[in-house]
Symmetry: C2
């Protein structure tokens, strides 16, 4: 299944980096940890990092009911969400050709405020499982009061674009021939460190499997 | 020197995580690799990942003169820029208390298009040196044609906010006492991998010191 680009979700710069498979969109969203949510407040853009989770072609976002960005986003205002993974710095022979290897997903749409309690709980499960797979069934679920204090938004993934850059620098032949500089890719790796148990845990509490399997 | 928050750069949610030292803003911006630039296009927000660099209290951004986001940003429109570093997932005893450890900087302002050729070149140097310290003097500088094809924007860092979360989960005492779940922080580490030389480099070309010193 391919993405159906609209004018604003059509990649205009670097078309050769555009990817149109919906699976690629899912893969980028699943690989990220936080997204950047942009809304318009008083005619000016506001962008904030926030957690998210994906279920099929729905992106769930959440936050305090007191957060203005989220209130604006849930009031039927247009939103834009970006998830970006930087995979490396591309060292080129010419300053102009410096680049990064990355995977980028951008979603445009109107967020829907989830009010149905069961769907709200589902959205929170999706969000928690995205950040911490396996954690939801391990922890205390939200109380009614906590649920009421949380805004959950659902954003349809219909209008989205994906750009991916991989591989070596794209220097001009003249620069390659001139041999002016070293060129290559310095990869950026993201890895989990050793779990740091909460100091308020009873001594000797084992780290559960849903955490250790991430290492 | 402290940040002077305006209404929109005042941290409203999680005030205890707000940091007001200008040095903290600089530190977050210097530690990031890409930013998320948001502009308003046709009354809707658009957010895209892009490279940046900092010189004092000026943030430089750049892109192709053909890129609409950057054209909008350079036309005196308000912009918002976020730089986010995720340091770990905070596993709590209650779903409601799940969080992330992070460093976040958000800048509001109006970007100025840099037209003076010398300052434009300076901005590009700052951008290149941010992504690849030491590279600028090693590579071929931009030609007049390349300079003309590049938009360089300068954004003042006056109106900015910083939020930082560190440390263990902040569970309620009842949840700690109940001992329902493991809790702690799973740190996220970002490291450079081994440099991957461009296949078009002459065999045996040594990796220069400005690259190896990052490892």
């Amino acid at each position: 299944m391919t993405l159906q680009p609209t004018p604003r979700s059509t990649v205009k710069r670097g078309r050769e980096r555009a990817v149109v498979e919906r699976e690629a969109l899912h893969a980028v969203l699943d690989a990220g940890l936080v997204c950047h949510l942009a809304v318009v407040v008083d005619d000016a853009p506001v962008v904030l990092p926030t957690a998210y989770g994906r279920d099929g072609d729905t992106l769930y976002l959440h936050g305090s009911t007191g957060a203005r960005t989220l209130r604006e986003a849930s009031a039927g205002m247009p939103v834009c969400v970006a998830v970006t993974l930087v995979d490396g710095v591309v060292y080129s022979r010419a300053a102009f050709d410096f680049s990064m290897n990355y995977r980028s997903a951008v979603v445009h749409g109107t967020a829907e405020r989830v009010t149905d309690p069961e769907r709200k709980l589902h959205g929170l499960r999706v969000l928690t499982e995205h950040a911490a797979p396996g954690a939801w069934d391990h922890v205390r679920p939200p109380s009614a009061k906590e649920l009421a204090a949380t805004n959950v938004l659902a954003l349809d993934l219909t209008e989205a674009s994906v750009k991916i850059r991989t591989g070596p620098p794209g220097d001009e032949d003249e620069d390659v021939a001139a041999g002016v500089a070293w060129a290559g890719v310095l990869p950026l790796r993201t890895t989990w460190g050793e779990p740091e148990p909460c100091p308020r845990l009873p001594e000797g509490t084992p780290v559960p499997e849903h955490v250790t399997t991430r290492l």
